[in-house]
């Protein structure tokens, strides 16, 4: 049931998916997974399946929508598009994230110095 996986991790993946869709336009699940791996310079070897849980969550919240289309090599695939609400959410979340990571970074620097 994944209840134990921390909220932050889930939220991070959701945020990355949103950012990817925002930057790349409509993409299918595989495309999103590849893109995240490429961006992270293959440092983040995610279990690609987890993307789908994230996609369902984002759909429930109305931040993305999905529709069936044809992929670059002529396969039927489900393409996801970020919605207006999703962009707004991305904006807020990104700000939050930067603030928090800034704080954490400062805390870690202080810890190192002492």
């Amino acid at each position: 049931m994944g209840g134990d996986k921390s909220e932050i991790l889930q939220g991070t993946l959701d945020l990355m998916v949103l950012k990817t869709l925002d930057a790349m336009g409509p993409l299918h699940g595989y495309g999103i997974a590849r893109r995240i791996e490429q961006i992270s310079e293959e440092a983040l070897q995610i279990n690609q399946g987890t993307i789908y849980a994230s996609l369902v969550r984002l759909m429930h919240k109305g931040w993305i929508s999905g529709s069936w289309g044809t992929s670059e090599n002529n396969r039927k695939a489900k393409f996801y598009t970020i919605s207006k609400a999703g962009r707004k959410q991305l904006h807020t979340e990104a700000q939050n994230w930067q603030r928090i990571s800034g704080v954490i970074g400062r805390v870690l620097r202080i810890a190192e110095r002492s």
Binding site: M1, G2, H28, G29, Y30, A33, R34, N47, Q48, G49, T50, Y52, A53, V56, R57, M59, H60, K61, G62, S71, N73, R75, K76, A77, K78
Partner: protein, 887 residues
């Protein structure tokens, strides 16, 4: 909010077409794998390898799908239905277990629902009036004289109605029986004599015609009557043109102005045929309206909204003080009390019903303990199954949820079966219930009662399901798997819980058995009581004389004289007499009296005795012995000196160390109120109020000197009751064809009928106690036989090592003994506490009657021993070879 709705909508889609959503997702995953494979191939992997790598990269598809299902669907609901389906399958696989559990629960729920339907109808259901919580009965009371609440004089009532500011409306009423003639057989009809405001006070409009107007209540108004719907449909064939017609009540013509719907009841407890007439039109009460001293009018009022009970009481106190100042002779010492209408009419049955409800609740508790024990047993043998589930990745909460769903399904099955039982039970109950109880006809399993039954089933499921589920989920995974499941050892902790449950059942059963035993003993003592008269072979009948036609005491005496002469001349009916009121079956007339030559009694230490008017042969007919002096004879007529007889109890109580014969007593009662009467004889004591009440002071006067407008005839005869009844009817008809003869009955039956309520109580409590005993025995049997089957191996080793069969029997029996002793030790104080609640329902039995306690404890021990003996004998016969090979 909107997001939430959207999520729900998209989830619900899954709910309605799970297949489509699932297929879509599979397709999505397939595309993903294909794309990933292509990528891998591009990187130079051989195709097979590429596909495998792609699969690994994506992760376990089954798990993905499972997560997807959970995310998309309505997880709780979905898993619940999944669990429920699974539970039904499991339960079907264990028909024996399921049948026992469902049946046990059905008994508990059914009994509770049936009793609750009675409690609901009698105690909880609001009265059928608008805003019934505002309605109160208002009494005059004289607490220092022991008068808790009585009626009003019309003059006092009229003043209260006019002057008070706390009741928005008030009305007075009295009840009466009048003779309805001119419609076939003359009949006696229940008549409510009322002031006109009663209908608007209770908020009821008529079905036909109009309610009474205030003009109808004034002196000199034309006589009008309102019929009940029942009477209108029955006697008058629902004639739509009935309004304006007239009927004869006590030979006087009344114009019908309205019909009240059947839902309307006033008096509160009366249903069926009845009429309402204005107070001024009643032959008796109208003549009492002018006086201020009487206490005969029942007063009902509606408290104004926003007025507190305290405010109302303050105003009523001020009013009663004013009355006492203005009319000290009639009103000094009197205060005013008011009681909610609902409370008033349930008062008599409340405690009995609550005891029954408590008893039946205990039965359910025992049933729950039994099922919990069964479930614990099963959970132990399912330990391996659960361990496997846990290993495969089921979380603890998931296991608990699954087990709870199982008990929930069990609970609902039991609940449904219980409701079916309750329907049958309610029918049985209503036929058993004494008909004089309030609302007997309103008892049914309606939606409120059904709701109660379902709630109870759910609660019961939680009660018996939670502990086993928690235990099961906590079981030690490794040991369960290693020890090969079914034979794995039961934890000490769990065994203790099982033992405690069984002992608890014995304790609860003891409470019920003691209560039932006490009631039974009390009832048998009541049945054995001698009322002081002989009820065998006595037929009784009521004749009521219309007062417009028979208006003078002389006419009443003449009527009864002629009737008795006629009856006594019938063959075999020489022992006939007239009495008002009859002992036990009629009400009693309690009067204060003075003894000539003694100081007048103060109101706090007043002398009272029950007054009875009888014809000379009454004592011979009823076989009441003469103790001293003489009986009433035919010379004691209206023109002769006034005489009276007193009971032995009255002689003892009020004439200690004196000879009462020749003394004179006087009391205020018509016809010749206050006239001194010489005591000419003392007769044996009679229980005239109730069988369970010790005989009190009684005084008898000759009917010829103190007649009534009617007579209760008692005839002792060897003839069949039917031919006696026929003879009475024939003679009455010959004298006046318009006189109804009512309430013809064998006196034995009506005296026994007065015990209907204790009988009902005793029977039901006995039934519940028997159920409790059976359930507790099953509980013990279950625990011991389970423990024996667990220990088969151990017993085998013991026998192989030389233990004798007897020592094995002793060993197993010791377990039963411990359970039983703990149960009895817990049960004794509980039973003692509970039996004190029975207090006033017991007759001549103390609440901690040692004989009852001893018998119950012995019975329980015996039953427990028998329940434990069967498995113990099995243990004794264990063949060591078989037992050892068993593993």
């Amino acid at each position: 909010m909107i997001a939430w709705i959207r999520a729900l909508a998209s989830r619900t889609r899954t709910w309605f077409s799970p297949g489509a959503v699932e297929r879509e997702f599979e397709r999505e995953l397939a595309t993903h794998i294909e794309l990933l494979t292509e990528e891998n191939v591009r990187r130079g992997m051989p195709p097979e390898e590429a596909k495998r790598a792609a699969r690994i990269r994506l992760g376990g598809q089954t798990q993905l799908k499972e997560t997807n299902r959970e995310l998309r669907g309505l997880p709780l609901l979905e898993t619940f239905f999944q669990d429920a389906r699974f539970a039904v399958r499991t339960l079907r696989k264990n028909p024996g277990f399921t049948a026992v559990a469902v049946l046990t629960l059905a008994l508990g729920i059914g009994a509770n629902t049936a009793i609750f339907s009675v409690v609901y109808a009698m105690l909880l259901k609001p009265l059928p009036y608008s805003q019934p919580e505002q309605l109160f009965n208002v009494f005059q009371a004289q607490p220092q004289a022991g008068v808790g609440g009585t009626g009003w004089s019309y003059a006092n009532f009229a003043e209260l109605r006019e002057q008070n500011h706390v009741f928005s409306e008030m009305a007075g009423s009295q009840n009466h029986q009048l003779t309805l003639t001119g419609r076939g057989e003359p009949t006696v009809v229940n008549t409510s004599v009322i002031t006109p405001e009663i209908f608007s006070l209770l908020g009821q409009t008529p079905l036909l015609g109009r309610a009474f107007l205030s003009e109808d209540g004034k002196r000199g108004a034309a006589p009008v009557v309102i019929l009940s719907e029942n009477l209108w449909r029955g006697t008058f064939g629902a004639d739509p043109k009935i309004l304006g017609n007239s009927i004869d009540l006590d030979k006087r013509s009344f114009t019908i102005v309205g019909v009240m719907p059947a839902v309307f009841r006033f008096p509160v407890l009366r249903e069926g045929d009845q009429v309402w007439i204005p107070l001024v039109q009643d032959p008796v009460f109208s003549s009492w309206m002018s006086g201020r001293g009487g206490h005969w009018l029942q007063v009902t009022g509606r408290l104004k909204p926003g007025i507190s009970v305290k405010q109302a009481q303050a105003e009523l106190d001020a009013f009663s003080e004013r009355l006492a100042k203005e009319f000290p002779a009639e009103n000094s010492g009197w205060t005013i009390r008011f009681v909610p209408l609902q409370e008033l009419f349930v008062g008599g049955v409340k405690s009995g019903l609550l005891v029954l409800l408590g008893a039946v609740g205990l039965v359910l508790l025992i049933a729950c303990a039994n099922i919990a024990n069964l479930l614990l047993t099963r959970a132990t043998s399912r330990a391996r199954e659960i361990a496997v589930r846990t290993t495969l990745g089921a979380g603890r909460s998931r296991i608990v949820r699954q087990l709870l769903s199982e008990t929930f399904v069990l609970g609902m099955l039991g609940g449904l079966a219980g409701i079916a039982l309750a329907y049958a039970g309610v029918q049985g109950l209503t036929s058993l219930l004494p008909q004089d109880l309030p609302q007997v006809n309103a008892i049914r399993v309606d939606h409120f009662v059904l709701g109660f039954a379902l709630l109870l089933s759910a609660l019961a499921s939680c009660a018996f399901g939670l502990a086993p589920a928690l235990f099961a989920a906590n079981s030690n995974l490794q040991s369960s798997l290693r020890e090969g499941g079914a034979r794995s050892g039961e934890s000490v902790h769990r065994r203790r819980v099982r033992g405690f449950l069984a002992a608890g059942e014995i304790a609860l059963a003891m409470v019920l058995l003691v209560a039932a035993g006490l009631l039974l003993r009390s009832f048998s003592k009541l049945m054995a009581v001698s009322p002081g008269f002989d009820t065998q072979n006595i037929v009784q009948a009521d004749i009521s004389l219309p007062q417009f036609q028979y208006s003078t005491p002389q006419q009443w005496t003449a009527f009864s004289n002629e009737l008795l002469t006629r009856l006594q001349s019938e063959p075999g009916m020489g022992d006939s007499a007239v009495v008002v009121p009859r002992p036990i079956t009629d009400g009693f007339i309690n009067l204060g009296f003075d003894i000539e030559g003694s100081p007048a009694a103060s109101s706090s230490a007043s002398r009272t005795a029950n007054y009875v008017s009888v014809s000379p042969d009454y004592f011979r007919v009823m076989k009441i012995p003469l103790v001293a002096g003489r009986l009433i004879d035919k010379h004691d007529v209206a023109s002769a000196p006034r005489v009276s007889l007193i009971s032995a109890a009255m002689a003892r109580q009020y004439f200690p160390n004196q000879n009462p014969l020749g003394k004179h007593i006087s009391f205020a009662f018509p016809p010749d109120s206050g006239a001194p009467r010489e005591i000419v004889g003392i007769v044996g004591d009679v229980r005239d109020v109730a069988l369970g009440q010790e005989p009190g002071a009684m005084m008898y006067v000759p009917y010829a000197q103190s007649p009534f407008w009617g007579a209760n005839v008692v005839v002792r005869s060897g003839l069949s009751s039917a031919s006696v009844a026929a003879a009475i009817r024939r003679n009455v008809q010959q004298m006046d064809k318009d006189l109804p003869v009512t309430d013809v009955a064998m006196m034995t039956n009506s005296v026994e009928g007065s015990l209907a309520q204790p009988k009902f109580r005793t029977f039901l409590l006995g039934l519940f106690a028997a159920m409790a005993l059976a359930l507790a025995a099953t509980g013990i049997f279950g625990v011991i036989s389970y423990s024996v089957s667990r220990r088969t191996n151990e017993i085998g080793i013991r026998v192989a090592l030389g233990a004798s069969r007897w020592s094995i029997l002793r060993m197993v029996f010791r377990e039963t003994l411990v359970l039983t002793s703990v149960g009895l030790a817990l049960g004794l104080p509980a039973a003692l506490g509970a039996s004190h609640l029975l207090g006033h329902m017991l007759y001549n039995v103390s609440a901690n009657d040692p004989a009852t306690l001893g018998t119950v404890a012995a019975t329980l021990a015996l039953v427990a021993a028998m329940a434990g003996y069967i498995p113990a004998r099995r243990a004794m016969r264990v063949d060591p070879m078989v037992a050892l090979r068993h593993e």
